[in-house]
Amino acid sequence: MNREIIPAPAVGLDFRKLYGHQQSIAIRANDLIFVSGMVAVAPETGERLHGSVTSEAHRIFQNLKLILESAGSSLAQIVQVHAFIYDRIEYDVLNRVYEKYLVHQPPARTVWSVKIESGFKVQLDAIAIAQ
């Protein structure tokens, strides 16, 4: 059994340092990687990139890709996603972006329509296989 912190692959994704969030970006435990809820920030600077559900979701998938690939995994290795959106009415808007990144044999998923921190419209967390 081991539990290993995955370091932020870019300074802008170090939420603990930049925003004081008391969390790691991701943890590897046995064969799985657990990624914290990701929002639309610029990986180079950490600047919040508020936008539409579409633009935020694109940014988030790019960030998840960076994190998972830095840990030797990939988007295709994701097994479960929690997709948080600020309003259920945008469900289909999310799906349009979502299916561009998770095409073949997509992961299990639940969409939660909730209030998201800092006025973001989308947040995604993920569990992936560590390769």
Binding site: N30, D31, L32, Q77, V79, Q80, V81, D87, R88, Y91, N95, Y98, E99, L102, Q105, P106, P107, A108, R109, T110, V111, W112, S113, V114, I127, I129, A130, Q131
Partner: protein, 132 residues
Amino acid sequence: MSTKREIIQPKNANLNVSKNFSLPHSPGVRAGGFIFLSGMVSIDPATGERAMGTVASETRQILSNMAHMLESAGSAMNKVVKVNVLLYDMLEWDNMNRVYREFFPTDPPARTTCGVQLAGGLKVEIECIALA
């Protein structure tokens, strides 16, 4: 090291909601010794249509379908380790809980319940992680 990632399908095709409703997720995935199920809503196993009802009736239908889903994948309700319950209104928490306990009578799994907006007039959505 390579861990397999396998998609799970219900034996009853009517419960394959992601396929029947063309949604971009799978019913479930087996990986790393666990099974991860997508959020399930109340679906009539005889027709595949949404079965809207009370929080109690939807909870019963979902958990019954969840048992089928897990059994289709060689797992079972007593192997569930974590459940997330999404309710349209937290005032109905007890109505969910009364039915829920019938399905997990002893040593129930870890659970989180949240009040959220749900789609299509449904009142309950439930997802879980179980041992494979």
